[in-house]
Amino acid sequence: MPRTRLDLPYHVDYLSILGPDGTLDTDLEPKIDEADLGRLYRAMLLARRFDERMLNLQRQGRIGTFAPIKGQEAAQLGSVYAITPADWMVPSFRETASMLWRGWPMELILLFYAGYLEGMRVPDGVRDLPITIPVASQLPHAVGLAYAARYKGDDAVVLTYFGDGATSEGDFHEAMNFAGVLGAPVIFLCQNNQWAISVPRKKQTQSRTLAQKALAYGFPGTQVDGNDILAVYAASREAVERARDGGGPAMIECVTYRLGVHTTADDPRRYRSEEEVKEWERKDPLTRFRDYLQKKDLLDAEQERRLEEEIAQEIADAVARFEARQDPDPLVMFDHVYAERPPELEAERQELAERLRGTGASPAEGEAPAPTPMRGQRRTSRWPN
């Protein structure tokens, strides 16, 4: 018959394991050992408290604009926990929880948001890329990393993050298509936090889910409760295992919510209601995970109190290390523009060094070059002197 329904290889599953009210689907509950459950809870609490502290520092003018993560901790930690240090993590600009998990020191993150590019220098041994602000631009890079891993015979997989808004950019579609065609081991992890600045999710795309976009590129897409760390982890582990075994890419859409501002330059009251925020506060990933651990007898009030204390101290120490920083030498402006410093740039650097001589602005003042001779005046000068 001429008109038949085609059987597509994938459909979109929705996965929820630990509900907002604490109900647990024990059949789907992933096996995570107790020590790791403790580590994950600690990481979640640290991420929340660090985020709060950063907001504070920003309001006091001690760091610049940044994108808070409050509400998205489960989406980040559930997924990043599914990869190993030998795998790659490629963030967008709202993955502080994942970065802390991967080993970025807090003072480095603070340094970056205070305007020091040194802060985005990936720590030794960490297989991450630095954050990127142009929306969706990291996704083709992630596919490139995966391609390079296979090229080099490395079985690493790549976990990359992006938002609901990013799915409108060409780079998202091109990266997804490429990953599908190459069978590249990439996990596309979308944090659908319902908003792209003031644009709500439904104005970003008419697709019922974001996960279904993967189907068009020939690989599976799963939608999960992004505030349920168990569901995020279960879906991520499945995708990671599949990718590692040569099964190719997968997309996971974490349905979550940005509880705070888009960035510290934003005021969300202008475009969304308090009720909506309240409703999502009831689905807070942190309290949900805490209740789960308490029910399992893995956390009590006393342990919680000690953890809070430890974390407060850790953050305070990091802030102190951050505040002990020195202003960078202005002459580094010309370092790393190219792999080497071409002569014209060397000359420009010398010129700046000379201008700064004696101002104390640059520690590397060097030898005083001979003064440039004054140019001879043209004989036809009309300048009366």
Binding site: I133, V135, A166, E169, K203, E348, W383
Partner: protein, 328 residues
Amino acid sequence: MAVITYREALNHALREEMERDERVFLIGEEIGVYGGAYKVTQGLLEKFGERRVVDTPICESGFTGVGIGAAMVGLRPVVEMMTFNFAILALDQIVNHAAKIHYMSGGQFPIPLVVRGPGGPAHQLAAQHSQSMESYFYHVPGLKVVRPTSPRDAKGLLKSAIRDDNPVIFIESETLYGIKGEVPDDPDFTIPLGQAEVKREGRDVTVIAYAGMYYRVLEAAEELEKSDGLSVEIVDPRTLRPMDKETILASVRKTHRAVVAESGAGFAGMGSEIASFITEGAFDDLDAPVERVTGANAPMPYARNLERLKTPSKERIIEALRKVCYLG
């Protein structure tokens, strides 16, 4: 005449042109409900509705292309780039399509399109978000490029850009949105594209500068006037392409000395072009080689102390002025 901000001047220009011509509509990220990332389109959604103020998904190449398509069939879209740094994502649409369709169709399809938004150095937005973007566009035949300096320029030039039948790249300055100035409220007030303005008259030396750099040059000029009695003329090209060479050459023929100040990187920058046509057109009138004061040939640093040194300081402008005037 009212005293309003650069931001308000742009807003008024958009509003007046939308009232005047039903074909004008706005499209871009965050321009409706949010009123624009820099609040330039504030109130326009409320006034003109969703048909004429279109909030888009995040897809710069896509919505620029949509604008081009609409322009091909007679609408007059004004595309907002949240910042001009993101216009790079739409560069194929702008360079290969907006700038060339009229030419390649033998004049069949004019592209009356404006692409506007903030550009130029900002405060601590780092390498990818704080660039002087005009050089990416003024090299392309088929594009007009505008860089307004004052609130008056902003309004008069934006209105002309919208009425123009060519694609116009209209780059505002992030750091100037809050400055105030006198702006005519006559809805027929426009400033023609391609007309420079002598913004400060002087006898001894000409400085060519626009947008934020103009204000720094002005400070330098005032200081040198006091310290050395130097009389500095400042010419603001306002439109970078087509460039009003005659006004600049006439000024140089009068003063015999020229300095170009620009915030972008110097190599193949605006200053190179200006210095070259001054040399071609007024060589015999020059008493000194044309001096350029430009941004460093490095990406914009993120750190505040480096950022300050990346763009020309007042001191460097003074140095250049003294140099062409042979003031030791």
